[in-house]
């Protein structure tokens, strides 16, 4: 291509390597594995996050300590280290029969799910805790003063507001989860990043392969981000939050 030789690069672009020779199927398989891995981990992470996030705000101290221990233990170690622990470390502690069963049922994938969900569960827990704790106590007092019971106040007022507050940081954490799924390739999971490296090692066309990976991740993440923006917009409570100046839309 003329412009690139002008810049002094000697590289022969061949975008067809992305779909010829079965490479297209590899990419699709990689995307599917990434989506499966991310979706499963996300569901478990949300469950763990809601549970421990809520537990960190209850008046009962032992539960608060247990939840804090979970969060601090798991979020303060790099995810890559956790993946190695879950793949090479944890199964060693299981009984032999369980290990043999696990070895024939995709240990790489399930170790990655465990690692991702527990790590991101800890991070989501912090987001949810911050959301719950940012609601002023006066709101609860006011709701109770209008005649609602505490349970009703939580169900009709506090929780709906809390959910709206946490949508942006949860979106952030969800995007992080999708992107962190790429680390699973270090324990042998054949997800999207692995497949782009595979194309690169088979064809030596690094630029094309990595561009494909970049664009696919970009599209996946932007889809999630834009969907969540729509969700935020649809469920907004007019007048609840401060907005400087009028929105253009």
């Amino acid at each position: 291509m003329p412009i690139f030789s002008f810049l002094g690069m000697q590289y022969d672009f061949q975008w067809s390597v992305l779909w010829t020779g079965g490479h297209g199927e590899w990419l699709l398989q990689g995307i599917w594995t990434t989506l499966r891995l991310s979706a499963l981990s996300w569901i478990i992470a949300c469950a763990l996050g809601i549970l421990s996030g809520a537990l960190r705000t209850v008046p009962f101290r032992p539960l608060r300590i247990a939840a804090s221990a979970y969060v601090e233990f798991f979020r303060n170690v790099p995810l890559l280290v956790w993946l190695f622990v879950w793949y090479f470390g944890v199964p060693q502690a299981l009984p032999r029969a369980a290990q043999d069963w696990l070895n024939t049922h995709g240990p790489e994938f399930w170790s990655a799910v465990a690692g991702l969900s527990v790590y991101h569960g800890a991070r989501m827990s912090e987001v949810i805790r911050a959301g719950i704790q940012s609601i002023p106590k006066t709101l609860l007092e006011a709701s109770v003063a209008t005649g609602l019971s505490v349970a009703q106040a939580y169900r009709l007022i506090i929780i709906p507001i809390a959910l709206r507050l946490i949508v942006p940081p949860i979106t952030n954490e969800s995007l992080n989860l999708l992107k962190n799924s790429s680390l699973a390739m270090t324990i042998g999971v054949a997800e999207l990043t692995f497949m782009t490296r595979q194309i690169e090692t088979y064809t030596a066309k690094a630029f094309e392969a990595l561009t494909a990976g970049t664009l696919i991740y970009l599209v996946l993440c932007l889809t999630i981000a834009l969907t969540m923006a729509q969700v935020e917009h649809r469920f907004r409570i007019p007048g609840l939050i401060v907005r400087v100046g009028r929105a253009e839309h």
Partner: protein, 285 residues
Amino acid sequence: MRRAVYFTMAAAVILGLATSAWAAETTLEKISRTGVFTVGTRTASPPFGYINKQNEWVGFSIDLAQLVHKNIEKKLGKTIKFELKESKPDTRIPLLTSMAVDMIAGTMTDTRPRRDSVEFSLTFFVTGAQFLVKEGSPIRGIQDLAGKRVGSQQGSTNERAIRERVPQAQLVVFPDQPAGFTALVQGRVDTYTNDGIQLWGLKYKAPNPNEWKIVGDFYTYEPYGMAMRKNDSDFRAVVNNALMEALENGEYFKIYEKWFGAKSETPYPLSDNAKNFLMMQVVPK
């Protein structure tokens, strides 16, 4: 505004012309200019390139690369620093083409598709792919792989061969050798495949060598060569001359004896066939 655009375009043209001339520097020119000869090699592939118990980075390929280094110094007529950088099957070619290293001296197999991207030196070692299994495993070779979990390294010729020839095997691909070997030790894979000589290295370096055995006939032919950038025949001549000198004056066989001899940690006698092949690569002076 328009003048700024024209000025930027002019600067880009000049910069482009300047960089296009500069980017076509040969390897020897680069080594001479920077004073450093960088070699990419393995860190966990005994005995070709690995960190030994004394925490030194040593190996058969590294010793051969040092012979090349001496020849470069002779050719350029000045002292050049010798530096090592880690390279793995999936990073070797990008490291070369991005000029992060000048030569790859490790366990790289010379193959025709790879010759589209890099240039190879003479073959300095001959082996083939086999399988590493725990003692007592039912696997005897490539014929027993259907349904078994096979560990391999991403970017290696063995991974490709298994994928193409034994699609019924469950291929598990790791980024590097330590991960693959640990998976074998823990039973996450039934066997680990790599070039035979590297499997011998792993076996002898394991805490209990008798637990492991290497099975199967060579299912691929793996001639190891040193890799360098394309369109660089001067540098290739320097590398090949160094290897040919070493084969002729016996230096190569001294190094071979050091790493593969009877008293070494991975004994692997040189077959007559292999020795003839190596010697016949030496063209007359």
